[in-house]
């Protein structure tokens, strides 16, 4: 474990990763992102989540692919993969309609990085999952239902 580096970073307190990296001279300020999108992450319904992302009413696109199982054996860990075939994809967001906070994660895709991410999310119940993609300044969406089941004996 590299305690020294971790402590250095910890000393930064509430500063974001970017601010720290900028402060440490590790990245140029122009690469630094806006702070955590609080309004998007705290949105309680689909409409306000999309609005907070600046997505408005995104169009359906078959070029956005959502890779999830139809049934999750456990809602604590639901694998979600998103692939965008749209040129100049710059952002990918994953939303779970029936979670208390819809937006699960948002990825910024710099040039040279594939528009293809995979992560794992929690789902409280069976719900639609949305993948929202920003490409060439426009927003596109695709959705898929994932059923959440109860696996064990419940004891």
């Amino acid at each position: 474990m590299d305690h020294k580096r971790r402590d250095t970073l910890k000393a930064g307190g509430g500063l974001g990763v970017f601010s720290l990296l900028v402060a440490a001279g590790l990245i140029k300020p122009e690469l630094a992102e806006a702070a955590w999108n609080k309004s998007a992450f705290e949105a309680k319904n689909l409409e306000s989540a999309l609005a907070a992302l600046g997505a408005g009413k995104p169009g359906d696109s078959a070029d956005v692919q959502l890779n999830t199982p139809d049934i999750a054996e456990n809602g604590s860990v639901v694998p979600v993969g998103v692939v965008s075939k749209l040129p100049n994809t710059e952002q990918i967001a994953i939303l779970i309609e029936k979670n208390p906070n819809l937006l699960a994660a948002k990825f910024e895709i710099p040039a040279g990085t594939a528009a293809e991410v995979q992560t794992r999310v929690k789902m409280g119940q069976t719900s639609d999952i949305y993948a929202v993609v920003k490409a060439d300044g426009k927003f596109y969406v695709t959705k898929k239902e994932v059923k959440v089941t109860l696996g064990g004996c419940g004891g």
Binding site: T68, I71, E73, S76, V77, R120, G151, G152
Partner: protein, 264 residues
């Protein structure tokens, strides 16, 4: 793949119809998708660091711990456990042997683990240490020394404990783990009385459990089996837990370890 076929075949056989088939296929897809990137690796890293960190009243590391292959040898040790240890005069599983090492090398009393709580303090340390040790037997064949009379005695006791019915629900281990192709709710139940099922179980514990984000040793697994069986609580590293481990490992003899596993 064996598991995938098992649940698919079973669902088709019992329920028939497309729905059950697709349920089985989708659960198989779910398992495949989470198989890559097992968070158990995080516990293994922590365990390696703990193994090499001086701890306890004696401020010693565990690097001289003898898991049966000589002091400090971790490679392949778990594949040969449980085994008889002459210095303690007992058959020990991985966890009970780690207790011995913590006590003798580091001066940490066994009671710190035995009387502790899951996921806390020295029991949590034990989880990480186990993750580290079993990773170094991954891909190796289960090779118990069944010629040893003490190990054989534990096998006989473990087999009988497996069928021992008691408590308000009249359950034994065999209630759930005595037949092929059964499941509780959606959870496949390995048949621990046959080689294939025993390999699937013994060969994939300890494991990371996605349902609670915890790393569970076989001690923890067995403890929770007995909880659901509605018995009294087995003591950590008690004779019954080692005996059942010998029974499972002996039944799985020759099978390949996939430790640490990833579970629902």
């Amino acid at each position: 793949m064996r598991k995938t076929l098992g649940i698919a075949a079973l669902a088709a056989m019992l329920v028939g119809g497309a729905q059950a088939q697709s349920t089985a296929d989708e659960i198989a897809k779910y398992r495949e998708m989470i198989a890559d990137g097992n968070p158990a690796e995080l516990f293994e890293m922590e365990g390696e660091s703990l193994w090499k960190t001086p701890r306890g009243p004696k401020k010693a590391t565990l690097e001289q711990c003898d898991l049966g292959q000589g002091p400090g040898v971790v490679e392949g040790a778990f594949a040969r456990m449980p085994r008889y240890f002459a210095d303690t005069g007992r058959v020990q599983d991985l966890e009970s042997r780690l207790l011995t090492c913590m006590e003798t090398l580091q001066g940490i009393p066994a009671s710190a683990v035995v009387d502790g709580d899951w996921n806390k303090g020295e029991r949590k340390t034990m989880d990480a240490l186990a993750a580290y040790v079993v990773t170094h037997s991954r891909g190796q064949k289960i090779q118990l020394d069944l010629a040893n009379p003490q190990t054989r005695r534990m096998y006989e006791l473990g087999k009988r404990a497996f069928y021992y019915r008691s408590g308000p629900m009249d359950f034994s281990c065999s209630t759930c783990h005595g037949e092929d192709g059964k499941r509780i709710r959606l959870q496949d139940l390995p048949n621990l009385t046959h080689k294939e099922g025993a390999i699937a179980a013994w060969g994939s514990w300890p494991a990371y459990r996605v349902s609670n984000s915890q790393f569970w040793t076989m001690q923890h697994r067995l403890n929770d089996c007995f909880r659901q069986q509605r018995t009294a609580e087995p003591e950590f590293a008690s004779e019954v837990t080692v005996a059942l481990s010998v029974y499972m490992a002996a039944t799985a003899q020759g099978g390949v370890l996939q430790t640490p596993g990833l579970k629902r």
